[in-house]
Symmetry: D2
């Protein structure tokens, strides 16, 4: 039988438990080894979760006192809305905990926060080839044909 899953914002004390999940997530996007995310960025991001001025937030999934998943999201303006839009930027579940609804529960935690604060549109990006992720995403949101163009200037 599976112990219950707790979805909650991290506290500063969670850093050591959160960091391996963040590293695992970054590795999935090939930000590891020589192309690893600089530590200064990790520190800045972690600090922003606890900075009342920054609309950058996190939730962690805890089971049996152990962190097994994370999501990071932020609110930003939109020219077609008065209220902010919620961009769910990161989502990660520990390999060993997959298929047990951790990702879905984290997404639902973001939905609840967005709803509570009046940011009624929640969106994220994923790669078109991310089949496992998209199986879940097709159940909790919709891909209506929009794609991303990006560049570095």
């Amino acid at each position: 039988m599976t112990s219950p899953l707790l979805i909650r914002p991290p506290t500063p004390q969670d850093y050591a438990a959160w960091k391996p999940l963040w590293d695992g997530y970054n590795a999935f996007y090939e930000r590891e080894g020589p192309t690893a995310l600089p530590d200064a960025i990790t520190q800045a991001t972690w600090q922003r979760f606890f900075d009342a001025y920054e609309p950058v937030h996190a939730l962690v999934a805890e089971r049996d006192g152990k962190l097994v998943g994370l999501t990071h999201y932020l609110f930003h303006r939109s020219t077609t809305r008065i209220e902010p839009t919620c961009y769910l930027q990161d989502l990660f579940t520990l390999q060993s905990e997959r298929g047990q609804g951790v990702g879905r529960k984290l997404i639902e935690g973001v939905y609840q926060h967005a709803q509570r604060v009046g940011g009624h549109r929640v969106y994220w990006q994923t790669h078109v080839t991310n089949t496992a992720g998209r199986t879940l995403y097709d159940k909790v949101a919709e891909h209506s044909g929009f794609i991303i163009y990006a560049t570095t200037v």
Copy 2:
């Protein structure tokens, strides 16, 4: 011979000239008639362009004293960057002025602003079927396979 194109931020005095372009852009996304964008949103967005606290910006393209195009963009946080990311949300050229580089010049204006303020990633969304737009976008940026999932909560 074509008169030169001026790319510049709008001033409050440009409202009357900007509004028809904004309406044209919204009509392209079927935000017209019964599904038109509420006027309160247009007012809030216009106000944000001139609000020093809001990282929401606009550029207009002017030819012969007439506005022929617009772009709206904003800066927001990213968990994988210290500096902000630039989201180019809206881009529109008057039907009669297409094919003359107006869209490209507006995108380059955004690139220059982002570069100047240290927001080195610029991105936007477009619909996968927007062939005309994508012909230009493929020249000035890259679609590397990322797609959007969204929902209303």
Copy 3:
């Protein structure tokens, strides 16, 4: 015997009960009658309390189901701190409820929020002649000689 006082953030449903307190506060600063605060500002401020993108917050004091006090505060940057500073801008207690610790409890509610989110400096302005207010302020904070200069440009 006095019923217990509840300090909590307002919900959108509190508008009708909050508005007379806000009007009473503004009247104290002679923003009434011909010099009343424009309603558009009241609407914008109320909306900001529920906008996840705005670091603008409120607390109300409730006794026996009735709102008897309010405080509005916001977080902003400081050049001498990494974390934000908390500016407590408005504080008001219903005339009939004064002298019962409402103002103090509201200030303490702000302190708790600031502490929780890492904004360790809380400050406010008051007029040098506000004797009643300063009796309380001298107990919960300190005036170390700093004064305000302001202008309209």
Copy 4:
């Protein structure tokens, strides 16, 4: 004869010339030696001047290619305004350059920026005993009796 004074935003290249002015300013407030401002704060503040997401700005005063003064200011919300308020937090002129209008020109530079972006109220704090500063401040702004209370929570 005095060379002309140039008031302009700093560029990242100005760091080495700006830093001694910033140190001089901090020394005036006894943030030096064992009570010096941590370098991490200086780095964060300098970075924020060039971060398009942060409403934190600077101007420097340059004469004969040398920086002789600085001002740092930021925009933040107000519950009694729709547009932001401008808080001029820091102002400093090199000892050897005092009495030549550098401080006034820097303040006027802030006024111009605030005016351009619609933040019509500009304010700052000073200590009641700062006679030299107040001689200037009384000419360009007004102290109408408001004082600061602050605490650390």
